[in-house]
């Protein structure tokens, strides 16, 4: 049996594991963790084998489709894009499940935890495997649900419950936009077909959508006096969904709060997999974006802005997980920026962005797991109370250092020496440089390079504050058990070498995503719709300084951090104080939460919507009471007939029958 025929098992197995763990977990040792581990391991093996097959022959993608009803289908699509995501998600999920056996060992809710993470894995794999946008959306929502459940895993803690609610509501804003985009897309394709869909055509399948891009681009709507192409609208709405899910500005506010969940959840969902679903959505619908230049620019600008914006906040956080959360937002910004650079480098952008996504998944999951290891041993998340942890936890320190180097992007340009983050972040920054060169717009490049500097500063601040120096509190602590450290080491090795191993093959592999037996789109022709020309060169033409720039800022960041937090040469106490307005601004996260809660929630929702709702409510109350009163009044009168005296009833019967007889008689005589 060919391995492709087992593709459907990839999401089904974790889903089964969810059911089994949910019902049987309490009776099994360690909350039934073994069930999802076996299921996800099997999924991982299948995914990896399919990926290896696909590597041999990238044009022959796996595509299976079943009729759902009339013009909609459910289906599986494993093209290069999906294959790398599948392998990454199953692999990271597997390691984190193993790690969680140790991390959650003291928790009573283990069966619930493992059931929910298994469900999450199933849903995430569903997102990746979808061959149509509707199935994609359904799994996308399921993923959001799991995220909600797992952030609120310790729901008896009010902060966790409210963080879960916040995450759910904030991502909902994006999801509604995504759904609106799907509806608009559906109605447009319907219009293109003039309402009669031929047999066997599934309108929301990606190949069908992509084949209608020129027609959708030709449809226009007047909005505020501007002619807006439907393609631009749809892609912007899709991107709105991605902004919510991937924590881009201005919907990123939920992600730092999502750290209220167990650290393993943060590593799995809010670093490696779910938050990248937004990037995956844009990559998946990339042919639509490339034909809609304004949307692609929005992606690029918002990505660049988010990368810098989140990095500034990461500088001042004192909670080890919050720093990492802002780092995740910032890195997701890089991925979005990378996709946005499709405006100059075409489909290569997808390869660049996904390469960073995969590398990021490894090193960021590793950072979170290391942080979890520290938290597990020391019992606090505040880095001000740590210090000197390196002596207690050498393995955790070593792996976290590797992950930090990868995040900051250390390496030597032009060679194969470097950590994974170097090989993936560099092309994005270089593409931003190319973008600046060809459009005279240096905004994305400046933001990206500044963010790279800040990234290096905040991550080494974290390292120095946590691991070096003398313990600032009496915390005790010990190295984590091997069930936790072995996943760390595996991820550490990957964070170290994955980039160097795959830096050339990865991009080439992913370029086949849009030219194969499932979809075959001409990116250059689509770019013509967008009315811009793709740059032909890349990588060689830049000045040496540009090639070295990311590394220079990374080293500079390391040095600055070392001087401030390692050597303590520079005294920061003046800067780091509540009196410094800049520090206050950053520490309060640009008051964005305050704006959302004080203004949006209180003024708009409570006072505006609630008042309007109350007026409408009262109107309906009056109407319903009025209708109800008619009937009660009428029945008040009618029930007087029930006298309880038999003779009265008999009288009515006799009168009725007599009248009936007279009526019948009359009718018979008239006709």
């Amino acid at each position: 049996m060919a391995i492709e025929n087992m593709a459907y098992l990839i999401p089904i197995l974790p889903a089964l594991a969810f059911v089994l763990t949910f019902f049987l977990g309490k009776k099994l040792p360690r909350g039934g963790a073994i069930i999802p581990i076996i299921a996800i391991f099997t999924s991982f093996v299948i995914s990896l084998m399919i990926t290896l097959n696909l590597l041999q022959n990238p044009e022959e993608v796996v595509s299976q489709s079943y009729n759902w009803f009339s013009i909609l289908n459910v289906g599986i699509l494993i093209d290069p894009l999906a294959a790398v995501m599948l392998s990454m998600v199953t692999f990271v999920s597997l390691l984190i499940h193993i790690y969680a056996v140790g991390y959650m060992s003291h928790d009573k809710g283990q069966p619930r935890y493992f059931a929910e993470t298994a469900l999450f894995t199933a849903a995430m794999l569903g997102v990746i495997l979808s061959d149509n946008i509707l199935q994609f959306f359904i799994c996308w929502e399921l993923v959001g649900l799991c995220s909600y459940l797992l952030i609120g895993f310790w729901f008896e803690k009010p902060s966790a419950a409210s963080a879960a609610k916040k995450a759910f509501l904030t991502t909902r804003v994006g999801d509604v936009m995504f759904l609106a985009g799907i509806i608009l897309l559906f109605s447009d394709i319907f219009r293109i077909f003039n309402g009669s869909i031929p047999e066997g055509v599934y309108v929301l399948r990606f190949n069908e959508i992509f084949s209608h891009i020129p027609e959708i681009a030709a449809l226009n709507t007047q909005i505020l006096g501007y002619q807006v192409s439907h393609l631009t609208l749809i892609t912007l709405l899709f991107f709105g969904g991605a902004v919510g899910k991937s924590g881009q500005f201005p919907l990123h506010v939920w992600l730092p709060d999502a750290m209220e969940g167990p650290t393993t959840v943060s590593a799995l969902i809010h670093a490696a997999t779910m938050v990248t679903a937004g990037v995956y959505l844009v990559a998946r619908t990339f042919p639509m974006f490339i034909a809609a230049p304004q949307s692609l620019l929005v992606v690029a600008y918002l990505g660049a802005f988010t990368a810098l914006f989140a990095a500034t906040m990461g500088l001042v956080m004192n909670d080890i997980k919050r720093v990492l959360a802002f780092s995740t937002i910032s890195q997701l910004g890089y991925m979005m920026l990378g996709l946005g650079m499709g405006a100059v480098i075409g489909v290569t952008a997808v390869g660049d962005s996904l390469f960073h996504l995969i590398n990021h998944a490894f090193f960021k999951a590793l950072l979170f797991l290391c942080a979890g290891s520290v938290i597990h041993a020391i019992g606090t998340q505040d880095i001000r109370q740590m210090g000197g942890v390196r002596k207690v936890m050498p393995i955790t320190f070593a792996t976290m250092l590797i992950a930090s180097l990868a995040l900051a992007g250390f390496g030597i340009p032009g060679t194969s020496i470097g950590v994974s983050g170097f090989f993936s972040k560099d092309p994005i920054i270089e593409a931003a440089y190319l973008f600046g060169e060809s459009t005279e717009n240096w905004f994305p490049y400046v933001f990206a390079i500044t963010a790279a500097l800040l990234t290096s500063i905040y991550i080494f601040r974290l390292i120095f504050m946590t691991f070096t120096g003398k313990p600032r509190t009496d915390y005790g602590g010990h190295e984590s058990p091997s069930v936790m450290t072995i996943p760390l080491m595996i991820l550490g090795i990957l964070a170290l070498i994955f980039g160097a191993l795959t830096k050339t093959s990865f991009g080439k592999f992913l370029e086949e995503t849009f030219t194969n037996n499932f979809v075959n789109v001409d990116i250059h022709a689509l770019a013509e719709i967008g009315k811009y020309h793709l740059a032909s060169h890349g990588g060689e033409g830049e000045p040496l300084l540009i090639l070295w720039m990311p590394v220079i800022v990374a080293v500079a960041g390391l040095l600055i951090s070392y001087l401030i937090y390692g050597m303590r040469v520079i005294d920061m106490s003046k800067v780091v104080s509540r009196k410094n307005p800049l520090y206050k601004l950053l520490y309060n996260r640009y008051y964005q939460n305050a704006i959302y809660t004080q203004f949006l929630a209180v003024k708009v929702v409570y006072e505006g919507l609630a008042l309007a709702g109350r007026a409408i409510d009262r109107g309906f109350d009056w109407l319903i009471n009025f209708i109800g009163n008619i009937f009660t009044d009428a029945s008040d009168g009618l029930r007087q007939l029930q006298t309880g005296v038999v003779q009265n009833y008999a009288t009515s019967v006799v009168t009725g029958v007599s009248l009936l007889i007279i009526l019948v008689k009359l009718i018979l005589e008239v006709f």
Partner: protein
């Protein structure tokens, strides 16, 4: 042979007497007797039509209805007995607790 009309007239007269009695009497036993009268007026009709048409079905039906009437009377009297024990009277005018 006596024409059909006489039977029907007798039946109508008995039915009217029964109806009149049912609607004017207050005593439960009298009302029950009046119901029996109306029932038997109907029985007379059944038998009369049966012999007029030369079809036995109507007579069988009449027998059936007489048997039912006996059962119904037994239940009716049993209920009246119970009422009498509780209320010490069987004046159905006063038994109007089921009204609105």
């Amino acid at each position: 042979m006596i024409p059909l009309f006489y039977y029907l007239a007798l039946s109508a007269i008995i039915f009217s007497i029964g109806l009149f009695g049912f609607m004017t009497q207050k005593s439960g036993i009298r009302m029950l007797m009046c119901v029996e009268l109306m029932l038997n007026a109907a029985n007379i009709n059944l038998v009369a039509f049966s012999s007029y048409n030369g079809d036995l079905t109507g007579q069988v039906f009449a027998l059936y209805s007489i048997a039912l009437a006996a059962a119904e009377a037994a239940i009716g009297f049993a209920i009246l007995m119970s009422i009498y024990r509780v209320r010490d009277m069987i004046n159905l005018d006063k038994l109007n607790i089921l009204r609105w």
